[in-house]
């Protein structure tokens, strides 16, 4: 569990979570980036940029 940086609710992730993985806060639906897997630390994920895509 880690605290959502947007709404401070606890966010749970699976045991196989990876650094830079994107997860969603179940409470406020913010898109979050895993910046550390152990200990679990979350940050707001970067906003979509103009050149992102497939």
């Amino acid at each position: 569990m880690a605290e959502c940086p947007s709404c401070t609710e606890d966010v749970g992730v699976g045991g196989d979570v990876r650094v830079n993985e994107i997860v969603e806060c179940g409470e406020c639906l913010s898109e979050l980036e895993v910046v550390s897997a152990a200990p679990l630390m979350l940050a707001l994920a970067p906003e979509v940029e103009e050149d992102w895509g497939e």
Partner: protein, 284 residues
């Protein structure tokens, strides 16, 4: 264990996770590289890994990472050349046309002031697309002159020079679907029909995918399209007009395959196909 392979990504989404999981499952010595932290010094020895799978989501970062790593002796999949072509719709169209492949009639107006004349030379309706960008963002149908003039007035006010170039494509009258073909290493790995509203069928925009058994002509076309843009791994988008004649719309260099995988189920394991290609030495 010395890593022989790297996965370049600043964002681990569902596809990157499946690829990393597949590499782990096979025991491939692999390093996950956050592209935002990559600094490439061409005067220093290169990285230990020999092959890099480029899953960077940002076009400019993906190109520069590939260019630098290639200079340091790393095989990057997809290559800088492929990303440069696929990431720019005009370059893609030119590469496909050069290879003799069918594309919708397309024009690039280098300034919005003269774009309406180019549109009327093609004939309404057309579709305007940003040169760089994906997921159907800002893809705009233009049914008539009034709409065209309004859009050009808006584009003329944009600050970035590349946003004032207008990529114009004849709108193909088609059923409410298109075709996505995944090509890996010069072979078709899977194909789906994508259904959606209007001109955009992107899964990212809520389009739905259904399995498609690809005939030999379309398979050949998709493989040729991937080859034309020099892509080892490619998501080729094809539309068929009302008479069934195909045109290649675009080729994607960083394929998002979750929708295709979900539609095809156990008929194909996309992550496994891509990893097979990488461990075989990533030869197209």
């Amino acid at each position: 264990m010395t890593a022989v392979l790297a996965v370049l990504a600043s964002r681990i989404g569902v596809e990157e996770k499946r690829l990393l999981d597949e590499l782990d499952r096979r025991g491939v010595a692999c390093r996950q590289v956050d592209t935002r932290r990559l600094a490439l010094d061409i005067g220093a020895p290169g990285p230990q890994w020999r092959i890099a799978l480029n899953r960077e989501i940002g076009f400019h970062r993906a190109v520069q990472a590939a260019r630098g790593l290639e200079a340091l002796g790393v095989t990057v999949v997809n290559s800088a050349a492929a990303i440069e072509t696929c990431g720019d719709k005009w370059r893609t169209t030119l590469a496909l046309r050069r290879a003799g492949l069918p594309v919708p009639r397309t024009a690039l107006a280098l300034g919005p002031e003269h774009a309406v004349a180019a549109i009327e030379s093609i004939g309404y309706p057309v579709v305007i697309k940003p040169l760089i960008g994906s997921w159907g963002r800002l893809v705009t149908p233009v049914p008539d002159r009034q709409t065209a003039e309004s859009i050009m007035e808006y584009l003329a006010a944009l600050a970035a020079p590349h946003n004032r170039m207008v990529y114009i494509q004849r709108m193909i009258r088609k059923p409410a679907r298109d075709i996505r073909v995944l090509v890996v290493g010069g072979e078709v790995a899977g194909a789906v029909h994508r259904y959606g509203e209007g001109v955009r069928t992107n899964i990212a925009l809520g389009g739905r995918a259904r399995p498609l058994r690809l005939g030999p002509d379309l398979a050949k076309l998709a493989i040729a399209a991937a080859d034309a843009v020099e892509a080892d791994i490619a998501g080729v988008d094809v539309i068929e007009d009302e008479a069934g004649e195909p045109s290649v719309l675009e080729v994607n260099h960083r394929v998002e395959f979750a929708g295709l995988q979900s539609a095809l189920g156990d008929r194909v394991d996309v992550a496994a196909r891509i990893v097979d290609h990488l461990v075989a030495g990533a030869r197209r």
